[in-house]
Symmetry: C2
Subunit: 350 residues, 2 copies
């Protein structure tokens, strides 16, 4: 490896308070980076990025306002960071890691090459264990972890509970539905096309599902699919779907709020208002937001469970792999267009 490399990276040129980010906001540039031994501090690693995780929360780090997810905002002209990434070690200044190791970085850069503190590494990956690298960003990454927290920790459905999951063919939804099925629940999902409805039933084992783009009346759809009401709703979308669900909740229903992707491109005053929260009183509903940052101490438990489920085929995954770091912006925006199935990742290097 050369000591000096050309590294392409995405940086924030301008905040994007509303709408879909464009190449005015996020730009690609090439920088020269020294990977020489004396450029790497102790307990740091020089790494090359193999795969990048593309997740909705990133949208809320470039708005210039912190409301909603309350995430720190990226700085103008700085490379995008705080993404999950699969990296390969080029040079190591930490005895725990050696050149060629494949690692999961929980705090990576959207860049081809970077120097990172080894404390950001979540785990070492054995590429021979039968799990694809992209699954470490999806089912075994932030999305799978969010699904696991939503179902296992916060939603906590009982066997036979009626569970509803929005964005059911997305990165979180696909795992969440399967985890609820493992618990013995009846699981219904909503997703954005008839093909995706088939997929969540045939591939992910959902009991049924509906295409929210084909339903003009969510209330009617939920009446049909939940004649006995909803016990747990893992909300990934917010807005009108959440409002409709609140008309169908059972006594003591739980609503883990994983995120509200339908509301990420709006400033808060333009978001859809939920008019029927009073139902939470009568039905004694518990609604609870959660962020992964508060639960990293559970990541090991999650990874152990989920790795076994994957290897035993009890949980299946689908990943949308976009090739080349140049397609990062397009990949991010695809999250908001209902155009994907499963986990979206960018493959930076094979």
């Amino acid at each position: 490896m050369e000591n000096m490399v050309e590294s392409r990276e995405w940086y924030l040129a301008e905040y994007c308070p509303e709408g879909v980010p464009t190449s005015d906001h996020l730009k690609l540039r090439t920088v020269s980076r020294s990977l020489a031994d004396d450029s790497i501090p102790d307990n740091h690693l020089a790494v090359e990025t193999l795969l990048l995780s593309v997740d909705p929360y990133l949208r809320r780090t470039i708005t210039g306002t912190i409301d909603g997810l309350y995430m720190p905002q990226h700085e103008i002209n700085q490379v995008l960071k705080r993404v999950f990434a699969i990296v390969r070690v080029i040079r190591s200044k930490d005895s725990k890691y050696t050149e060629g190791d494949i690692l999961l970085n929980g705090n990576g850069y959207v860049a081809e090459y970077s120097i990172v503190p080894s404390s950001d590494i979540m785990r070492k990956i054995d590429p021979a264990n039968g799990i694809s690298l992209s699954d470490y960003l999806g089912t075994l990454g932030v999305a799978g972890f969010a699904a696991w927290l939503g179902i296992e920790v916060i939603g906590d459905p009982k066997p036979g509970s009626h569970v509803f999951i929005s964005a059911a063919s997305g990165a979180v939804g696909m795992s969440a539905g399967q985890l609820a099925k493992i618990r013995g629940c009846r699981v219904i999902g909503s997703t954005g096309s008839d093909d995706k409805v088939n997929l969540i039933k045939e591939e992910f084992g959902y009991d049924d599902g509906f295409n929210y783009n084909a339903e003009s009346d969510f209330d009617a759809a939920l009446s049909k699919y939940f004649p006995d009401g909803i016990d747990v709703y893992l909300d990934n979308v917010g807005g009108k779907m959440l409002e409709a669900v609140l008309n169908h909740v059972n006594k003591y229903a739980r609503i883990p709020l994983c995120g509200m992707i339908s509301q990420y491109n709006q400033v808060w005053t333009e978001r859809e208002g939920i008019r029927n929260l009073l139902n939470m009183v009568g039905k004694e509903v518990r609604m609870e937001g959660f962020m992964l940052d508060s639960y990293w101490d559970r990541f090991g438990d999650f990874a152990k469970d989920m790795e076994i489920y994957l290897q035993e085929g009890k949980i299946k995954s689908k990943n949308k792999i976009n090739i080349g770091i140049d397609c990062f912006l397009e990949s991010l925006n695809s999250l908001f267009s209902s155009s994907n199935i499963g986990k979206v990742v960018v493959q930076v290097k094979a």
Copy 2:
């Protein structure tokens, strides 16, 4: 006592889906009622009503639709019931009670005389113990119990927590604020007049308060009174105040939903939409509705705590006593007009 009495009672003439109920909906009539021995089944009591508890939930039992609080609806032409009442025993067919006993009925009728199952009796009252009868309907009744559940069980603030209580001079708010103070919290209330702001500070020990009718911008008010954010919000009103609070919540804030009085006179599609629920995700807020019916097993714990607080002067109460069963409708509507302080009761008989 005569065997036959004339008993005035309020009955439902017509459902009132929205707006304030009028004498078209609730009407007073006089019926003849036999209190003769053979009119009283075993384990029942003939009672005369001394005091009636006037509570907001009653509004949601005469709408003709169950959404919101999901309470059973009164039947047309039937006497209003399911209210807390202080009654005096006239004749008893239960050996636990005897003529002249003063009892708290948790399932009473809005009537001067009635025959009730003794299983509806919550407790026997000792009129000589220094607690006024009206306090058994307020601080020691449903309102105080709701306050206790909201603070002690669901909100669970820590010493030093920043607690906000809406409708702070109302029946629930007055007790809730004092319970939070006993826990060592900083407590701020909102209420409907400057006089009431003074009252909650001087009488109920709130650290501060504001008049929501004088604030055009709830967001600005909360910025002023909660520079360090809100840890627990006991929501009694819903609507715009709840939305404003969600812009000021701290990490892991809790929002017990006790009721939403600002929304009780609207059908759900006309209620104010809450646009910023996404803040619940970033701040990992837990919002939880509760109804007393799920917690009757805790009523004894509550009553024991609260009775001691009252007797020791650690919790003070104020009651608005309206005289005569004929003013029941007016008393109910007064709950929605911000015209009262403390607990509203109707004194039927001295």
